[in-house]
Each structure stands twice: as structure tokens, then as C-alpha cells.
């Protein structure tokens, strides 16, 4: 039987389709990440921490909400590791827990201005809530 850490890792790998063992630790993903400054754990650390099974730490970190899904790390990784897909899988594992949505419809009215495009609300809800 797999223990909890192993189960979490397996779920992340299956959901993301990523193989972290391809990573050669060059750091290009973090070097090109537009949210680097806002992140506690950076894209290259996501890859390493998933590989070692330290997923609980990532799930509790705000870093999972800082990724913009810009896919710069995906396209620029020389090894095709696709770190953003790991961030997405970890974020889903976090928000899919009971009452764990990062953003709820009740939060929205206070965040609106006259120009807010629907696209912004849709993408935020898609990324921050299940």
C-alpha cells in the first residue's frame, strides 16, 4: 500500500502528465517566470519538491495562486518538463479539498471595477476555485 505522500505524488504525476526526473536543474523556468518575485516556492522548486514528495508544503503555500498560466516555463524549458502543469496539479489538489476554494463568488463584487472584463472573472474562478 502506498502511504499518503506516495499517493499524493502519484496523483500529481498522473494529473499533470509531467515527469520531474527529466529536469536537469538549470533553473530556466524560474529565470523566465513573471511571478518569480511573488512566489515563496519557484517553478524549479516545484519540480524538485514534487519529485521528493514534499507536496503538502506546496499545497499550503500561496505560490500555487501566483502562477499565471502564462506557460513561459513550459515553452522555454530545454528538457520539456512543463513545470506549470505541476503547479496546476498541486493547486487542484489543494482547492479540491472541502471548502478550500481560494476565491468564491461572494468575494467577487468587492473586486470589480467598471472595466473588469468577464474574461478576468472567468479565468480567476477557473484557476482559484473548483
Amino acid at each position: 500500500m502506498l502511504n499518503k505522500t506516495e499517493r499524493q505524488k502519484e496523483q500529481i504525476l498522473r494529473s499533470s502528465g509531467v515527469n520531474p526526473l527529466k529536469c536537469m536543474r538549470c533553473g530556466k523556468c524560474s529565470g523566465t517566470c513573471p511571478s518569480y518575485d511573488e512566489m515563496e516556492y519557484h517553478p524549479h522548486q516545484f519540480v524538485y519538491m514534487v519529485e521528493t514528495g514534499d507536496i503538502e508544503t506546496l499545497m499550503k503555500s500561496d505560490s500555487i495562486y501566483k502562477c499565471l498560466s502564462c506557460f513561459a516555463c513550459v515553452d522555454r524549458c530545454p528538457r520539456g518538463v512543463e513545470p506549470a502543469k505541476l503547479v496546476e496539479a498541486v493547486r487542484l489538489m489543494a482547492i479540491r479539498q472541502k471548502d478550500a476554494n481560494h476565491l468564491t463568488p461572494n468575494d467577487i463584487p468587492a473586486l470589480l471595477d467598471d472595466e473588469t472584463p468577464q474574461q478576468l472573472l472567468m479565468s480567476a474562478m477557473r484557476k482559484y476555485s473548483k
Binding site: S16, L92, P117
Partner: protein, 268 residues
């Protein structure tokens, strides 16, 4: 020629100009945009997880509708383009995902035949490049934008993931620059043209988004641009909210000005 058209949520509300001029210009260029009946919002952001299925069904339904109409599917919003193309790719390459999606779809009130990625998806700019042709577009220009220096802002969603979208070279794109040239203006090349504007982070951290948007608009202005052109309502919102010193317009507005169906792009 007739194509299936997916306008998307924002083109019906905050980005009406993006939609209105897309339709008007298509008419002039001999393309009939047939709006898909009862289309549903694409969700605006693709969730890359393979086990996220239900939220991608709106895209699958639009793709299946275009397949049934035997037409390519055209989007104007860069987010719709991104989500629908990535969903199409998943339907083509991930058999497990496609089986699950088709199982959901079979429960629809009026189910269509199983969909397996048959539809060709074009962004409107690709339609101009690959179907209409930039040379033909150039011939249709009535008011060339001579002397205007315009910065193409690609952002993320037109380009990445490059291998899936097949829109252009994600690191050295040329499509919008060639579009600008066809309209008689001069494209401005600048390094931040394919970097992120801050996207949905603006909702909870406006300062972080502003930092990213400012880099883009300042970089464009520093390279001599008078105007930034985009296909993305969220990029436009972020650049304007962060105080871009130069105007940000939709590519369809620019197109409409050049084709003589809109008076002045600067007036926006």
C-alpha cells in the same frame, strides 16, 4: 467562405469593439462568420490537468458544432483561441480524456456524434494570414495607416504552448507585425511583446499585475511605438489599468480603420 464563429463572453460585454469590427471586416473580406448557436463560455483559462474534464465541455461542444457544420472554427479573443485549441489537442491526443468528455457529451439533451478533434481552429489573425492572405488584405485597405508606429502585443495566450497552438514561433512571432505591415503601418519590435501582462492575478494583487503590465507598455513606448495592438481583453484591461502612456487598441479596430469602416482608432 463560411466559418463557424465563437465570440466568447467578453466580446458580448466589455469588448464589443473586438467583436463588432471583426464581423464587419470579415464581411468586406468575403468571410461569413456564422455564430455557433447556444455557445457557452470557454472558461477563459485552460486547466492543463488531464483529470479536469467537465470544465472543458463547453469547448468540446463548440468544436463538435463546427464539425457538424463542416466548417473551421474561428475565435477572435486570444483566451478563447487558447482554451479551444488546447481542448481540441487534448481530444486528438489523449484517448482517456476524449473518452470521458464524449461520455459526458452523450448525456446532452441533443447529443452529437462522438468528437475526436476533427475541427480546424483558427484565430482570426490566422484566418487573415492563412485563408484570406495578407497580400489580399493589403489590396482591400482603403485608408493605409502610413507612418503609424504600432507595437504588437502577443502576450501569452496567442502563442503558448507553441507546439499545441501552432499559431506562430512563440519566441519570434511575425504574424501581427505582418498584419500591421499589410495595413500600411510600421511594426515596432520590442522584447516584452510575448511576456505576460499579469493576467488574472490583478484580481487579488493589482500591484503585481501592474509591475508586469508596466514593463510591457514602457518597453513598447521606449522603442518608439505610438500605440499597442492586442487581441486580448484582459491584456488591454491590465495595460490600461496600469497606466500605459500609449493607447491600447484591439487589432480589429485597427483593421476596421484601414478597411474604411471605422473612423479613427486613436479616438477610442
Amino acid at each position: 467562405m463560411k466559418v463557424s464563429y465563437f465570440p466568447g463572453c467578453t466580446l458580448r460585454t466589455k469588448a464589443k469593439d473586438l467583436d463588432f469590427y471583426a464581423r464587419k471586416c470579415a464581411e468586406i473580406l468575403g468571410v461569413e462568420l456564422c455564430e455557433i448557436e447556444n455557445w457557452q463560455c470557454c472558461g477563459a483559462a485552460f486547466v492543463s490537468a488531464k483529470d479536469e474534464v467537465a470544465s472543458k465541455l463547453s469547448s468540446v461542444r463548440a468544436l463538435a458544432a463546427a464539425r457538424d457544420a463542416e466548417q473551421p472554427l474561428v475565435t477572435v479573443c486570444s483566451a478563447c483561441h487558447n482554451v479551444i485549441k488546447q481542448t481540441n489537442h487534448a481530444m486528438q491526443t489523449d484517448a482517456e480524456f476524449a473518452a470521458k468528455a464524449n461520455l459526458y457529451m452523450s448525456q446532452d439533451k441533443e447529443p452529437t456524434e462522438a468528437y475526436n478533434g476533427e475541427t480546424t481552429v483558427y484565430h482570426y489573425l490566422e484566418l487573415l494570414r492563412d485563408v484570406v492572405g495578407f497580400d489580399k488584405l493589403k489590396e482591400a485597405v482603403k485608408n493605409p495607416l502610413t507612418g503609424k508606429k504600432i507595437a504588437a502585443y502577443y502576450g501569452c495566450m496567442l502563442l503558448r504552448p507553441g507546439k499545441v497552438l501552432g499559431f506562430d514561433d512563440p519566441e519570434n512571432p511575425t504574424i501581427i507585425e505582418n498584419f500591421i505591415r499589410a495595413l500600411g503601418a510600421e511594426p515596432v519590435i520590442y522584447s516584452y511583446r510575448n511576456e505576460c501582462c499579469g493576467s488574472y492575478a490583478v484580481l487579488e494583487d493589482a500591484e503585481a499585475a501592474k509591475k508586469k503590465s508596466n514593463k510591457v507598455s514602457e518597453n513598447a513606448a521606449d522603442n518608439g511605438a505610438e500605440m499597442i495592438v492586442t487581441a486580448c481583453p484582459l491584456c488591454k484591461y491590465n495595460l490600461e489599468k496600469s497606466g500605459s502612456s500609449i493607447p491600447v487598441v484591439y487589432f480589429t479596430e485597427l483593421l476596421a480603420t484601414a478597411l474604411g469602416v471605422k473612423e479613427d482608432t486613436d479616438a477610442e
